[in-house]
Amino acid sequence: MRFTEREIQEALCERHTAAIQEKLNRGRVAIAGLGGLGSNIAFSLARIGTGHLHLIDFDRVDLTNLNRQQYLMRHVGMFKTDALKEQLLEINPYLDIRTDCVRVSDENVASLFKEDTILCEAFDVPENKAMLVNGILENYRDLIIISASGMAGYGNSNTILSKKITSRFYLCGDGVSDSRKGPGLMAPRVALCAAHQANLAADLIINGTAGDRL
């Protein structure tokens, strides 16, 4: 079954209203890291018709990823950028999806996100999270970063929070649950944190700010 762009737009407008959908169509969101956080953020934003998505990851899908990441058996061995883009286009083939199969570093952080207005940090390693957040806040004037820290384990749903640090820096998670201690990362709680990040991105696209309510 193939739908026209107009049919998909009408379906989205029916759910979201035309005024909101127009804003979402113009949304430009980068997602750095396409694991448990990033793949779930991407699915949420693609489903609501966020017009421009920029997906960044250097890694391939591994069997141990399937406990929490939005990939299927058939994707094991594929680059995450390709496996995710393929699925997002099955939700909405008219989205503008750009992929960069690269490792983000101090060397490329200042140039990689020039086209984006919001960046969701979805890395795994704490040093990489810190590198990206510092790199964005030091090198860009307007780019907003939505980062995450603390989402390992299960239960304790209500300790996952969204927090505004500054007008350009938001942080989701419980701040303490480390994937290297205890039961590791599991689909339900990682998805909770990813939903916080995606929901903040939606709020920022639609309203321009999310700060007054955090």
């Binding site: 890291g33 694991g35 448990g36 956080l37 990033g38 979805a122 890395f123 795994d124 390693v125 704490p126 040093e127 999270k129 810190a130 957040v133 510092n134 806040l137 030091e138 980062s147 995450a148 820290s149 603390g150 989402m151 390992a152 640090i165 500054t166 820096f169 942080l171 701040g175 303490v176 649950s177 480390d178 994937s179 290297r180 990362l185 990682v190």
Partner: protein, 65 residues
């Protein structure tokens, strides 16, 4: 006094951000620091002096994504 992550902390003598972070046990490669709403570049931790009335947010990252 300086306000750090919403809590007032006494500031006994002028101290640099780097010394303060090390005293408090922060791993400086896993944090981001905002002072009075501005990011402090990592390269400036050593020269940044904390003053009475400064408001700091020190965000620590843990693993998982």
């Amino acid at each position: 006094m300086v306000r750090i992550n919403g809590e007032d902390k006494p500031l006994e003598e002028p101290t640099t951000l780097l010394v303060y972070l090390e005293q408090e046990g922060y791993q400086t490669n896993r944090i981001a620091v905002e002072k009075n709403g501005e990011i402090i570049p990592k390269s400036c931790y050593k020269e940044t002096l904390l003053h009475n009335g400064d408001v700091l947010e020190i965000v620590s990252f843990v693993g998982g994504g």
